[in-house]
Amino acid sequence: MQLNREQLLAAWRMMGTIRAFEDRVHAEFAAGGIPGFVHLYAGEEASAVGVCMNLDHRDKIASTHRGHGHCIAKGCDVPGMMAEIFGRASGLCGGKGGSMHIADLEKGMMGANGIVGGGPPLICGAALTAKTLKTGGVAVAFIGDGASNQGTTMESYNLAKAWMLPAIFVIEDNGYAESTASNWSVSGSQIKRAEGFGIPAVQVDGIDFFAIHDAAAEAVERARGGGGPSLIHVKLNRYHGHFEGDAQTYRAPGEIERLRRERDPLAHFRRRVTEAGLLEASQLDAIEAEVATAIETAVAAAKSAPMPPPPNLLTDVYVSY
């Protein structure tokens, strides 16, 4: 599918925002400003953005513990996200969720999820809502390679097919679940598994925004047209540890440096669009600078924002009780 200049710039801005966001959170975590478990998405940007650029306000996504990228790509407020990760009252979830639970249902973002495999059943539900209320919407679950082994994920394949839901399963296979390699943990193959359920599936290169975008476009079209679920197997890489603090000794010496050098989705995008003359390097640089400023501002705001007051502990448990 041909993307216009505006769309390409938006994609660049989105990917750049995710990268800058994640690298900055990495630094802030190391500096001690961010508590808890934080899982970063840097290196995987083309997946979230390539998929979500095909979605609109009718559509829902369910994310994983590694959710910042999906949030940003689905249009969540970036300063609100940063404040949330810092545990502030101004955070997207009032400081109650943190990195692992950022959500904005109004944007169709059904939440990062602390439970591996938590998302796929949920998007079956979102897809059912779309189908039942005839909104034309689709629902996407992002699923790690590790999460692909969880029963909840596989049940969802079958359910989505049996109900012919407008559902899309995106396997983000970054080669590892924590320190365990997917080439060990995933018997068979993602594509053949999907086919085992009668679900059309395709594998794409996770540094190639365009390939992901096209695969997602096809899946979204199938879903909106009543053709049922699809699966996309994206092979990609994460740059940071499983969570912040992970020394990544299970990776080969020099592995990450090499990936950054040779397999970077942003660099790949830049090369593609400039070599094809679709965008100027200067445009890309300008956006990068804007993004840097925006993240800087978001961090400053988050750091100076107040913590939630203790009485908030007791609110938001029930609508009424």
Binding site: K60, A62, G91, L92, C93, G94, G95, K96, G97, H101, A103, D104, L105, E106, M110, G111, N113, G114, I115, G118, P120, P121, L122, I123, C124, G125, A126, L128, T129, A130, T132, L133, A139, G151, T152, E155, S156, N158, L159, A162, W163, T315, D316, V317, Y318, V319, S320, Y321
Partner: protein, 334 residues
């Protein structure tokens, strides 16, 4: 007023709410039945026939049979609830919670809190519980204490057909996730049940007997036994108040404390396992909040700390009985 069974009462509540609100959908294994089969459609209406007739009226778009995949479809019900439907999902036996509890207690229960108040998840999970059917260890448990333990869930346990209808209607209209417990031995119980829709608010206990001597708190099928015991005791001059909390979360603690304030004596009857159970929950409440009123030790009538046995001879010994309640009441009167 018409006499209706507990089963009919729930069926009627579901029917009326589905007529009222097109966002209400039903899902579960064989809630209609016969899908893909060569014979009759709507062949089952659930294993106990509770949802029979709903599919013919509302169609398969709103009455959805599912594969055996509780995480999948209970999770789907929750995801659907968070995005605009008001699903009623059928977890056939509560004993099956172990394959899908995550979606209930980590997703549905916590969305609103984790997301800073921005989520609404109006899902109802209907489920069957309780012993007496000779259904053995994996099909006879109560387990509502596990759900009551979890903040973010509401837990409903009707003890009569009248309550079942009103509480189901409330459950469907409620904006929080509700686990709705149906005792498998109550489905054929008859009660006066109005034809028109009515909602019974959560957190309001029902006093099924009133008396000044002893407060008896009982739940689900135990309410019947408590009433029986109270009636027998009344004949001997001991007057019990029997309180059916109807919902354990929220729970009407005021009614319990007020009654104990008057009687000074508490017997809690519960069919669930004793450890960290509802009997302990109510007893602890009273020991903390109404201690000064208590004239005697609190007494808990529950099964022993063992799984539910199959053999009728053992299952009958397992379950609380009216006789054991009478004995407990006499104990606190002594």
């Amino acid at each position: 007023m018409a006499k209706k069974s507990f089963r009919q009462a729930i069926n009627e509540a579901l029917t009326q709410e589905m007529r009222r609100d097109p966002r209400v959908v039903l899902m579960g294994e064989d809630v209609a039945g016969g899908l893909g089969s060569p014979g009759e459609d709507d062949a089952w209406g659930g294993p106990m026939g509770v949802t029979k007739g709903l599919m013919p009226e509302f169609g398969r778009e709103r009455v959805l049979d599912t594969p055996i995949t509780e995480s999948g479809f209970i999770g789907a019900a929750i995801g659907a609830a968070a995005t605009g439907l008001r699903p009623v999902a059928d977890l056939m036996f509560v004993d099956f919670m172990g394959v899908c509890f995550d979606q209930i207690f980590n997703q549905a229960a916590k969305f609103r809190y984790m997301f800073g108040g921005k989520a609404v998840t109006p899902v109802v999970i209907r489920t069957m519980f309780g012993a007496g059917f000779r259904a053995a260890s994996q099909h006879s448990q109560c387990l509502y204490p596990l759900f009551t333990h979890i903040p973010g869930l509401k837990v409903v346990i009707p003890s009569s057909a009248y309550d079942a209808k009103g509480l189901m209607i409330q459950a469907i209209r409620d904006d929080d996730p509700v686990i709705f417990f149906e005792h498998k031995m109550l489905y054929d119980d008859m009660d006066e049940v109005p034809d028109e829709p009515y909602a019974i608010p959560f957190g309001e206990a029902n006093l099924t007997r009133e008396g000044d001597d002893v407060t008896v708190v009982a739940l689900g099928r135990m309410v019947k036994l408590a009433n029986e015991a109270a009636d027998a005791l009344r004949r001997d001059g001991v007057a019990c108040t029997v309180i059916d909390p109807r919902t354990t979360s929220p729970m009407d603690t005021d009614s319990i404390l007020e009654s104990v304030g008057e009687t000074g004596r508490l017997v809690v009857v519960d069919e669930a396992h004793p450890r960290c159970g509802m009997a302990a929950d109510v007893a602890a409440l009273v020991a903390q909040e109404a201690f000064r009123a208590l004239k005697a030790p609190v007494r808990m009538v529950t099964p022993p700390h063992v799984p539910v046995p199959f053999s009728p001879a053992l299952e009958d010994a397992y379950l609380p009985t009216a006789a054991r309640i009478v004995e407990a009441v006499r104990g606190v009167m002594a």
